[in-house]
Amino acid sequence: MTAMNMVQALNSALDGKMNEDPDILIFGEDVGYFGGVFRVTDKLQEKYGLTRCFDTPISEGGIVATAIGMGAYGLRPVVEIQFADYILPAFDQLVSEAARLRYRSNGDFWAPITVRVPYGGGIFGGQTHSQSPEALFAHVVGLKSVIPSNPYDAKGLLISAIEDDDPVIFFEPKRLYNGLFEGRPDDAVKPWKNHPLADVPEEIYRIPLGKARTVREGSDVTVLAYGTMVHVALSAIEECGIDAELIDLRSIVPLDIDAIVESVRRTGRCVIAHEASRYGGFGGELSALVQERCFYHLRAPIERVTGWDTPYPHAFEWDYFPGPQRVIDAMQRTQEV
């Protein structure tokens, strides 16, 4: 075990898999010599050579298209899109191609690709370095969407994503890369070092896709979250004293529906938290599922804590970001009924 931040844990996953499997290729903008703008692919070119970890033209559509072609041939590409905000030029490739290649060819061809994408706010990145577009992809049948919240999960989930024979979008909460963030911008940065989930084995291990993690057990309300919001929610729970159960979904496709239903049936209340804007966000899907499956157990309306229905605004980062106070307010509303 070594204490790793999320960047190091992801790097360790890539390194371990590249070492084991020569069919794994890594490419993307600035990932080669430079090791990525967030340093996740640091030293991989040096270690595995120019043809296994290389820079690409600035063409997200081209990156994903060539990854699909390589994957169809039999390789296992792991590509980086520099920011989730810039995945949209690749949207057609992901939606019309990666997601459906297997289905439409009856298994003749498939796309065993992993698309790594730093996402989320909290870094004063304005509208084009802060977005959380997971709902757009969750809506696409045939794509998996994984979102880790800590170094240990990041490594285990990335390894599972790489080994998965279907296309996986791996959303990395960039605000958590180098330290813990609880949605309290005035607090000093908390390094990962002392966090139990920063204890990351050097060797390969897997966390299955579609298995949620119960971060905290409780009986008053179930809080569903993923990525950065897991820590925001936990901090909110600790502050307000409500005995909430917190579930880190880890992946939204596949979704651990059993864990959600079991918990909400027990607590009778549900709060859903995500950074993305509210309308049509993934919280809407979760809310519908909970209502469909737990209706007779619900004792209060389901609450959503999300970004507002505006683009992500630069100066209003902390007015937009769904911080701990908003999670507390929502949990309290569920207790009042």
Binding site: E29, D30, G32, Y33, F34, V37, L50, T51, F54, D55, T56, P57, I58, S59, E60, G61, G62, D85, Y86, L88, P89, F124, G125, G126, Q127, T128, H129, R278, Y279, W308, D309, T310, P311, P313, H314, A315, F316, D319, Y320
Partner: protein, 409 residues
């Protein structure tokens, strides 16, 4: 099975990395004055050699030579120089302001100031440019208030974009400056559409769009070029080839197989390759393309060969991926020094005059930034949170209204 060798994957590499000597021998140069200057209405088919040459006017001594020499009065050149110098000083000060935590982010255009300045002064008031984040000198040349730039960069209460945009992603319609987005390449098609609209209305306004050489790889860019070739709109499409795209050298965008200007050939539009550090050459080539556009002959692609002399942005450290002192070794020099030298050679300026101009620029920049700082830097002052919910649509819908109330505005 003759002439076969085992296949291997090719990945291009730059001529140097940290620790290596700078080497620009792969940049195809041509001496000032050598490139021919065809008539602006020449059919495209007769222009197909142009993308491989290099239009240059200023020679090493600062003399203007050759057929592209524009006939520009001294005050035009001085205005350009003033804009370039203010851009450089403003950039340096704002970069430092970022280091002091006064702004979240900054991007300099050092080494590339001639481009926006020359083109801004060449185009008309009603023409529209579709800029990248490295075209600040366009606004400087049109005397956009520097305090307003500062307010945007600090996201303070007077920010003309109401705190919604990251620093330097300006918008200034009245100055012929289209809204910048962080997404690369996505506005080149807007420039083409703008120009198509102008043609449709039998107007006389043209559009000018920019992308970096790295960005030429985006599908958006090729879509824009296709439309520009098909509909022959009055548009000038510029590739600012500053050799680097963050840590990726221009070869990663295909730049060591051919020139970026030569991309034009496949779309059936003229491509000009221009010394991007030569104010006069930029003006001349832009004016050529403008005349051609206004002659209803359609689009031109212009590659501006330049060098990104500083870091990609305030979040970047170029010493990690490119040779030290590359900027000093750049064969096309410093655009400010070259224009200054030209004015001196022409007899329109002395070293003392330049010093005076520089000090005056410094004074104006300093005063403007002070004024913006007095309103407030990042976090000290910001527009009303109400602004977060405005301009999503022309009229807010119930979501913005409800949510605005929820936060108490």
């Amino acid at each position: 099975m003759k002439n076969r060798t085992e296949l291997s994957l090719y990945v291009p590499e730059p001529s140097g990395r940290p620790g290596d000597e700078p080497d620009f021998s792969n940049v195809a140069l041509q001496d000032a004055g050598e490139q021919r200057c065809p008539d602006t209405l020449t059919p495209e088919i007769e222009l197909r050699d142009m993308p491989y040459g290099l239009i240059r006017v200023l020679d090493d001594e600062g003399k203007a030579v050759g057929p592209w020499t524009p006939d520009l009065p001294a005050d035009h050149l001085l205005r350009g120089l003033d804009a370039m110098v203010r851009t450089r000083i403003f950039d340096d000060r704002m970069f430092r302001a970022n280091r002091q935590g006064k702004t979240s982010f900054y991007m300099k255009s050092s080494g590339e100031e001639a481009i926006g300045a020359a083109q801004s002064l060449c185009l008309g008031e009603r023409d529209m440019c579709f800029p990248t984040y490295r075209i600040l000198s366009w606004l400087m040349a049109r005397d956009y208030p520097m305090t307003a730039l500062g307010n945007q960069i600090f996201s303070n209460a007077e920010d003309p974009l109401k705190g919604r945009q990251m620093p330097v992603l300006y918008s200034a319609r009245d100055y012929g400056f289209y809204s910048i987005s962080g997404n690369l390449g996505s506005r080149l098609g807007h420039a083409v559409g703008w120009a198509m609209a102008s043609a449709y209305r039998h107007d006389d306004s043209i559009a000018l769009g920019y992308v970096g050489e790295g960005t030429t790889a985006e599908g958006n860019v090729h879509e824009a070029l296709t439309f520009a070739g098909v509909y022959r709109p009055p548009v000038i499409l510029c590739v600012t080839n500053n050799q680097w795209a963050i840590s990726s050298f221009s070869g990663i965008a295909g730049g060591n197989r051919t020139t970026f200007a030569a991309k034009a050939l496949a779309y059936g539009i003229p491509g000009l390759r221009v010394d991007g550090n030569d104010f006069l050459a930029i003006h001349a080539a832009t004016n050529w393309a403008r005349e051609r556009a206004l002659g209803n002959k359609g689009a031109t692609l212009i590659e501006l060969v330049t060098y990104r002399a500083s870091a990609h942005s305030s979040s970047d450290d170029p010493t990690r991926y490119r040779p030290k002192n590359e900027d000093k070794a750049w064969p096309l020099g410093d655009p400010i020094e070259r224009l200054k030298q030209h004015l001196i050679v022409r007899g329109d300026m002395t070293e003392d005059d330049y010093r005076e101009l520089y000090e005056d620029c410094e004074k104006r920049v300093r005063a403007s930034i002070r004024e913006a700082e007095a309103i407030g830097t990042l976090g000290q002052s910001k527009p009303s949170v109400k602004a977060m919910f405005e301009q999503v649509f022309k009229e807010p819908d119930w979501r913005q209204i409800e949510q605005r109330r929820e936060v108490g505005y």
